[in-house]
């Protein structure tokens, strides 16, 4: 197999040989800027301070940008923020998506960020922002998911946002969503407790190193058509229109219980599968602390209409229980997700 990236390099170099160096041109600046900065761990300072806790309620996780028509990014009308477990095999982590769309549902922009599950001492779970503007006068949508120690969030301009729980995020956590003006990415928020004291995000910063307790476990590639006989593996049947591109399984057991905040999941097996030409990701998710324990409900979980035992969850996920864990399928088409979920088998 020739590495396609090597082929591309050779062709680019050949094309460079065939072209003379272009003259320097002024860079065009006027263009739509859409930036997603997601899953960032807060790195703001944690100097102690006492402040008033009067603030504004968080915006919901799904709503209209700016709160009224015409107040948001140039052509954005609605935003949707969803949280989901990381499906990256070996990792105990979280992902969050933020999408902007027209009121008719047509997508405008969006993106996703993922990171390791923070340790129990870390108050911030995930955060991100989407800047969509044609000029510096545009607006951005920002969000942060925090644990119950956080009573308010101080953001740009000294505004105080009161986070609130939501069915779209795991139980016990809260989300703050706010809008800011200007084309620049918003500043990292400051987290405050009930007394108005700044909560240190130093544990979040430490979690950003690979030496943290939530490091990714070792994995190996396996043949999806001949999945190993083990509890955590996905068997992809040979059927017309169904093709498994790859599968990985975890090969390592943590030496001690991982230190994670809340009920995190870990993907112990994952496969990339094509159904009727569309790409799907399947994964077995287990409780990150103890895989033999019943894994928690998925964020935003709701019953799939007309399919007993099947649930839909945030981030375009369809899932069913597999032993104490979940078998989840992620992809664009819900009907195909369901079909794929019925076709797949696990060792659980």
């Amino acid at each position: 197999m020739t590495d396609p990236f090597d082929i591309l390099r050779d062709r680019l170099v050949a094309a460079a040989h065939a072209t003379s160096p272009p003259p320097r041109l002024a860079r065009p600046r006027r263009r739509i800027l859409i930036v997603l900065v997601a899953a960032l761990l807060v790195s703001s300072s944690a100097a102690a301070a006492v402040v008033s806790l009067t603030g504004e309620d968080s915006q919901p996780l799904t709503g209209k940008v700016g709160g009224k028509p015409g107040a948001g990014p140039s052509d954005a009308r609605e935003y949707v923020i969803e949280m989901l477990p990381s499906l990256s095999v070996g990792e105990a982590g979280w992902c969050a998506t933020l999408a902007l769309r027209h009121s008719n549902g047509q997508p405008i922009a969006g993106g996703e960020g993922c990171g390791p599950a923070p340790p129990a001492a870390a108050p911030q779970i995930v955060s991100g922002a989407l800047v969509a503007t044609t000029s510096r006068s545009g607006k951005s949508v920002s969000y942060i998911v925090v644990d119950d120690r956080v009573a308010s969030v101080r953001v740009d301009g000294g505004r105080m946002i009161i986070p609130r729980p939501s069915a779209a995020i795991p139980s016990g956590w809260k989300a703050a969503v706010w809008f800011t003006a200007g084309g620049a990415a918003p500043a990292m928020p400051v987290l405050l407790d009930k007394a108005g004291q700044v909560i240190s995000t130093e544990p979040n910063q430490r979690a950003g190193t690979r030496a943290a307790g939530t490091r990714r476990l070792a994995t190996r590639a396996v043949d999806p058509a001949r999945a190993p006989h083990q509890r955590c593996a996905i068997e992809v049947p040979s059927r017309a229109g169904l093709r498994a591109a790859s599968e990985r399984v975890v090969t390592e057991t943590p030496a001690h219980e991982p230190d994670v905040n809340g009920r995190a999941f870990r993907a112990c097996a994952g496969a990339v599968i094509y159904l009727a030409g569309r790409r799907f990701t399947a994964a077995v998710l287990v409780d990150a602390r103890n895989p033999s324990h019943q894994a928690a409900a998925l964020p935003g979980q709701r019953p799939h209409p007309g399919a007993p035992g099947i649930v839909e969850a945030g981030g375009g996920i369809t899932a069913r229980r597999a032993g104490p864990g979940w078998l989840v399928v992620r992809g664009i088409n819900p009907a195909q997700r369901l079909r794929l979920l019925h076709a797949l088998k696990t060792g659980a």
Partner: protein, 177 residues
Amino acid sequence: MARTDADLLAGGVADDFGIFYERHVAALTAYVGRRAVRPDLTFDLVAETFARALEHRGRFDESRGPAVAWLIGIARNLLIDAARRGRVADHARARLGLGRIELDDEQLVRIEERSRVDLRAALHALAPDQREAVILRVLAEEPYPAIAERVGCSEQVVRQRVSRGLSALRRDLQENP
């Protein structure tokens, strides 16, 4: 001493663009791979991004930011365009006569593997001050003076943090493909 990206792009030497490509393909693939829904689309976006970079290498201005930010900016525009039009543009590749690279299953798996490189994890492995500087400059496209004001240090220090952070990131991505 390693040649700068600006040197590689400005010299007009064809093989230099190959060095530039090797230097940044891992980071760009990781960035695009997290946002594209299929490995063939990831590869198309990476290919078109580098084709545009080759076409417009005379536009690269080091004073505006690092080369990887320039590449990510190109890729971001292509992603937005692809989301709106339902397909990845191939104008630059067509103009350069690159032709389409047909991908077999094994090659798709290879792209998938390179797409799985966790840019976030690599970012998180950076020192906090470097991570913040790289995120603000490369992902959020904040100008250096604004970052300096925000983090409370000189513009020179911010530039140094971005430069060192990107070097560390590149090493990490190359060592953990």
